[in-house]
């Protein structure tokens, strides 16, 4: 130590050291918690799902799959945008309506209804499904994915979901 340079010792010194440590941890923790939450909160948020209308249920022809689109406002973080989604709706003779996701469960292409063969066919890898969605041919690992749907006051509602492709089970994204 230089000439004339003093420094606190003993209890006094450890009081200063400990208080400094305590105060700096206090600041650190009170900053770390909100900042951490701030960073991860949007990562944990689920997409909000609501029922959207696909139109009048009684206008669907029996055993003729219909491509029904709807447009809704979707939020992507701070950005709001109009998104159009498609579905395939099938009304069976007993009046039951099934709504399929428009995405092939094999690798995610868009499949179509082939009116002549009365089958759903995927143009990418040749997966083929019947009107019930069951796999008839091709590499598809599972039947077509059904979407939650309901009929209320004559309106057909659906809840849009997406599923992981390539799995034998239906797993929501």
């Amino acid at each position: 130590m230089e000439e004339g340079l003093s420094t606190p010792v003993g209890n006094r010194r450890s009081f200063f050291v400990k208080t400094t440590l305590f105060l700096s941890s206090l600041i650190g923790i009170s900053l770390a918690i909100p900042l951490l939450g701030y960073v991860i909160s949007p990562a944990l948020g689920r997409r909000n799902q609501d029922w959207v209308s696909l139109g009048k249920a009684d206008q669907l022809p029996v055993d003729e799959p219909q491509a029904l689109d709807y447009t809704r406002t979707e939020k992507d973080g701070w950005q709001k945008s109009q998104v159009t989604k498609g579905t395939w709706a099938v009304k069976r003779p007993d009046g039951q309506i099934t709504v399929f996701s428009p995405i092939c469960p094999h690798l995610g292409c868009g499949y179509r209804w082939n009116q002549k063969d009365r089958l759903f066919k995927c143009p990418c890898h040749g997966s083929i499904y019947d009107i019930e969605g069951s796999v008839k041919a091709g590499p598809a690992p599972r039947p077509l994915d059904t979407l939650p749907s309901k009929v209320e006051n004559g309106e057909l509602y659906v809840m849009y979901q997406e599923f992981k492709s390539g799995l034998s089970k239906k797993v929501e994204l």
Binding site: E2, L5, L23, S30, P34, L35, Y38, W78
Partner: protein, 440 residues
């Protein structure tokens, strides 16, 4: 565990001498609460840098998104309002800390030889911090941001010869818009930080080369020196925690909501600059005509030139305040002027008129009948029918309003305003409210 890790690193990097230099810096006359302001400023600056980086996670500097992203931070991100509050109040706190730091240095005569360079760099840092304040104010892109920046930039236009050019360069074109926002953003988050980091390092480098000034009181100075660590560090930590708690408390307790989204067509909006620019804003009200342009740019230029040259203008080598009556008088005079102007300005801004119940009912009726579907009042509402922000300036007559509410076309021919089903009292309440909407 931590100490063993430190030993392991120390054996390789030989940190001990560095540690000695950093911690055993001699503080002449011993540690003191007088010396905490520089550290407090540095701490608050770091807090601004930290919260600023986090705000950038969600902020987008484009005119069509900036407002939405700040709204998103404020309302939807967990803790976003707190992070934004810390950044907002931290900006004010760092200005206060700089002010106190400069006052202490001024009062103690610590800017005198051999510390002139430290003072000059410090004045540069002050200018950079004001630059941070000015560029940051535009970023939320709300009405206040837009119009206050409009005024601020136009003030630069008063500078002779080059004023127009500077204004254009600042705006990135003829008008305040997309290019202004992105360049203010770049200046705020990249250019200024890069420059100020070097400024701060230089400031501290000079401090370490020249050494702290110590007390102006020779008797105390002769008592010998004390190491920087642990007592001065402890004092700094106490003050930093106090500053942090204050900023956090303000962020939690005083909301700082966004104004409406910037609307360049809405000329009724009255912008308010940040409080540290307010005294100058008030000063401009007293400088009419030709004097006005001098006050806008000449006074600030003189102020900064005076500050920069202070160590050379003040030839008195004496540091004790009692031996420097002229200098202290000048400083005190400056403070009195600044705080008087600030006080008058705040009084004007926050003078809350006493509200009588009829007025409150009038405001409620405007809500109830959705007048703002067509009329705009201080930026709120559609721009279909006349803007009512200052309607009493145009229509000061009570009877006109009463009749107008009874039957609009009878006093305003061709008006498409519907006849609302109002009773006498409601017409009276609405009229009372309309008559308060004036500029004076």
């Amino acid at each position: 565990m931590a100490s063993r890790l430190y030993q392991w690193i120390d054996q390789r990097l030989k940190l001990k001498p560095l540690e000695q230099t950093l911690l055993n810096e001699p503080i002449p006359g011993g540690a003191s609460w007088n010396y905490v302001f520089g550290s407090a400023t540095l701490f608050l600056f770091c807090l601004q840098a930290l919260t600023g980086m986090f705000l950038m996670l969600y902020y987008v500097p484009a005119t069509d998104h900036a407002y939405d992203t700040v709204q998103y931070i404020q309302q939807e991100v967990w803790g976003g309002w707190f992070v934004r509050g810390l950044h907002h109040w931290g900006a004010s706190a760092v200005m206060v800390a700089i002010g106190l730091h400069m006052l202490q240095v001024f009062f103690d005569g610590a800017y005198k030889r051999p510390r002139e360079m430290m003072w000059i760099v410090g004045v540069g840092l002050l200018a950079l911090m004001l630059g941070f304040g000015f560029t940051g104010y535009l970023l939320p892109w709300d009405q206040n941001a837009y119009w206050a920046t409009q005024v601020g930039i136009n003030m630069v236009g008063a500078v002779p010869f080059v004023g127009d050019l500077i204004v254009r360069v600042l705006r990135g074109g003829e008008t305040l818009g997309a290019l202004t926002l992105s360049r203010f953003f770049a200046i705020h988050v990249a250019f200024l930080p890069a420059i100020i980091v070097f400024g701060i390092m230089l400031h501290i480098f000079i401090l370490r080369r020249v050494g702290p000034a110590g007390p102006h009181d020779e008797h105390r100075a002769k008592q010998g020196s004390e190491t920087f660590y642990p007592r001065q560090v402890y004092m700094d930590a106490v003050v930093m925690s106090g500053a942090f708690l204050l900023v956090a408390a303000l962020a939690i307790m005083v909301e700082f909501p966004l104004a409406d989204k910037a609307d360049p067509s809405d000329h009724s909006f009255v912008p308010v600059p940040e409080w540290y620019f307010l005294f100058h804003y008030q000063l401009l009200k007293y400088a009419p005509g030709a004097l006005g342009s001098l006050a806008t740019w000449l006074l600030p230029t003189l102020f900064f030139t005076g500050l920069l040259l202070l160590p050379f203008l003040d030839r008195n080598t004496e540091r004790r305040p009692s031996s420097r009556p002229v200098m202290l008088g000048v400083g005190l005079g400056f403070l009195v002027i600044v705080f008087t102007l600030l006080g008058i300005s705040l009084q004007h801004l926050y003078a809350i008129p006493k509200q009588d119940p009829s007025l409150a009912r009038g405001i409620a009726l405007v809500e109830q009948f959705k007048c703002q579907t067509c009329h705009r009042i201080h930026g709120d509402g559609a721009n279909i029918a006349p803007d009512l922000s200052y309607v009493a300036d145009r229509r000061p007559d009570r009877n006109w309003h009463l009749q107008h509410f009874k039957d609009p076309p009878s006093v305003s021919p061709g008006s498409f305003m519907p006849k609302f089903p109002l009773n006498d009292q409601q017409r009276n309440d609405l009229t009372n409210y309309m008559l308060t909407l004036k500029s004076g």
